[in-house]
Symmetry: C2
Subunit: 370 residues, 2 copies
């Protein structure tokens, strides 16, 4: 199969660029105590995770949802797994407990309610689930306050049957995209100070803290150099997007949304079939690859309206590639990735963990009506 | 199954509100020459399309993609089908020709290239495919210029073997969301004037123009009252979103994204599991349903960070519902819809046409590697 035969819109991975990204990350961590725990949520694609793990310097995989973790275990990608997110809601803790019978599963916890739920499910399943206390390091989202509140929760975890305290996590998501390196470094140091100070308090209290998990693609070489951080949860580095490409990090854009020109209503305009149902815009409009002076004017559901240089010869039926501003949600729109080497499609990879897997479960559909 | 048992994030439809929306639209068109051709792209859900068609006042269904049309035909929803979009790219025209053997399929055409492609595929399949000349009425996207250029294309369609000229379409997408009714009416009249004048020229040239298709949820009662417009391509009215709810139209918000509170790190903040992989933000942040003073601060991949009144008793594990700003891409993220009546889940509907169906075809995955 050739690039020109792919029905559009479609996701295209430049396998050589991707392999270079994977190698660069593995090399950075090869001789350090800190390792990378690639974030599966970025691509949800077993074929890519296998390549990341095979390159070495990895502790295992990070997931954001129970459904992703289920795919990781079902596909036998690794038995070292972190769900770097709170697990709350109907059936979720029970599903984690089932996974813990088959793999070394750690879960982020920031509340008594979530801890109780998890411990109860683990006891019912006769397993022990690992816990990282989720510490808020500045991003207004999840996480318990650093210092005493986090220490108290760690003590409670350590004293609770069914769970085992493994350490801490803290995601500095509020600083990973800061373009200026000096400012990114300073603010990362401040955020990580909160996490590492808390880790010190936990250890001083005689509690285990073997894992200190943090970091992302934008801070891998800042947080990843800090004493006491044991792993980096980077995801985007493997394929990259235009938001991360603004930073001074050595990863290449290895991913695009392939579209077809549907209409060329005016010399300075075309409409392609790659709208925001094919390419998300939560981090801004995508960029046009390889056409000097072209830019996306706006995306609608099924169309990208693109401004072109009037002299462009682009015609109806021609291909046009967009670089998305954010890979994670863009990949989550699709079911497969086309891995290409030049003009050749060398493999097609299912995006196995796309969407919310509990909702694809046939038992739900059998349970009630249509 | 009860609302409280639904694993989140999940999409919830208030069936009673939806039925009222469907009834209001059917009643508006009951005694008019113009009818509604509900847009399947809005929800991609056969169970909903069946209810829209059953309510009457419909000509058939509108689709935006060949994949949607394939689902409409496979599910036997209607045999009167409009793909209100250009059909271009590998395999697409051939797939339309296959559909035309089983249903009365019309396709929007705005270029010689797309027309040639379609005619060739139709001849190869031994069928005739209906064509609406797609006229640009002001939205910078697809569509040939009104007047002479559109007339010339209509003549070419009429003279081309394998296709049959059925009329015109023109989508006034640039005006459907204008909140002020007087301005919306004035600009709709201007846009539709271009389409109706062109229709007059086509008829004056002795060519058939039985269909004049236009309109959306925001203009259904403006465009739908105009002499000469035969059908309205409205989609969103059936479930509604916060963008359309700003207009003075009689449709109710019948749809929400159900989430679970993962974390309540501060009295004035919570994080829920309904991020932008569950609820798109291309038309802006969603709104919080039913909590006075609550609003979405930002969405990230798997989290909604929500500002709460400090006195709110919302706790980890509680449910929170978001009203999306745009239903079409939000529904496209999910695989099923939970239809509820109060606290009771009465049916579960597969979103059968979600994503790009050509990419789920097993033959593609069999064809190359992975």
């Amino acid at each position: 199969m050739k690039l020109r035969d792919i029905p559009t819109p479609a996701l295209v991975v430049d396998v050589n660029a991707m392999e270079r990204n994977i190698r660069r990350m593995a090399e950075f961590f090869a001789d350090r105590p800190c390792k990378v725990r690639p974030h599966f949520k970025a691509h949800k694609t077993p074929a890519i995770a296998r390549r990341q793990l095979a390159a070495g310097s990895c502790t295992g995989l990070t997931c954001a949802t129970v459904g992703e973790a289920e795919v990781v275990v079902a596909e036998d990608l690794t038995d070292d797994l972190l769900i770097a997110n709170e697990v709350v809601g109907p059936g979720k803790a029970a599903r984690v407990a089932k996974l813990a019978a088959r793999a070394d599963v750690k879960v982020a916890v920031d509340s008594h309610a979530a801890l109780d739920d998890l411990a109860q499910a683990a006891c019912a399943e006769g397993v022990e689930v690992g816990v990282l206390v989720d510490v808020n390091v500045g991003l207004p989202r999840c996480g318990i306050a650093p210092g005493e509140p986090a220490l108290e929760l760690a003590k409670l975890v350590a004293a609770t049957e069914g769970v085992r305290l493994r350490g801490l996590m803290g995601y500095e998501g509020h600083v990973v995209a800061i373009e200026d390196r000096a400012e990114r470094e300073a603010r990362t140091a401040k955020a990580m100070g909160r996490l590492l100070d808390t880790a010190g308090m936990v250890r001083a209290a005689g509690l285990p803290c073997e894992i200190v998990s943090a970091g992302g693609t934008g801070t891998y070489d800042i947080t990843g150099r800090m004493d006491g951080v044991t792993e980096i949860q980077a995801g985007s580095y493997v394929l990259m997007d235009t938001a991360y490409a603004k930073l001074d990090i050595p990863f290449e854009l290895a991913f695009s949304v392939l579209g077809t020109v549907l209409s060329r209503p005016k010399p300075e305009l075309c409409a392609a079939d790659s709208g925001h149902k094919a390419c998300t815009m939560d981090h801004g409009n995508p960029s046009v690859k390889g056409i000097e002076g072209a830019s996306v004017l706006f995306l609608s559901d099924e169309h990208a309206t693109i401004s072109l240089p009037a002299e462009s010869t682009l015609a109806v039926g021609d291909r046009i590639e967009l670089w998305p501003s954010h890979i994670d949600p863009t990949i989550n729109l699709h079911d497969i990735l086309f891995a290409v080497d030049g003009e050749e499609v060398v493999e097609i990879w299912p995006i196995t963990a796309r969407g919310y897997l509990e909702h694809r479960a046939s038992e739900i559909l059998r349970g009630v009506g249509g």
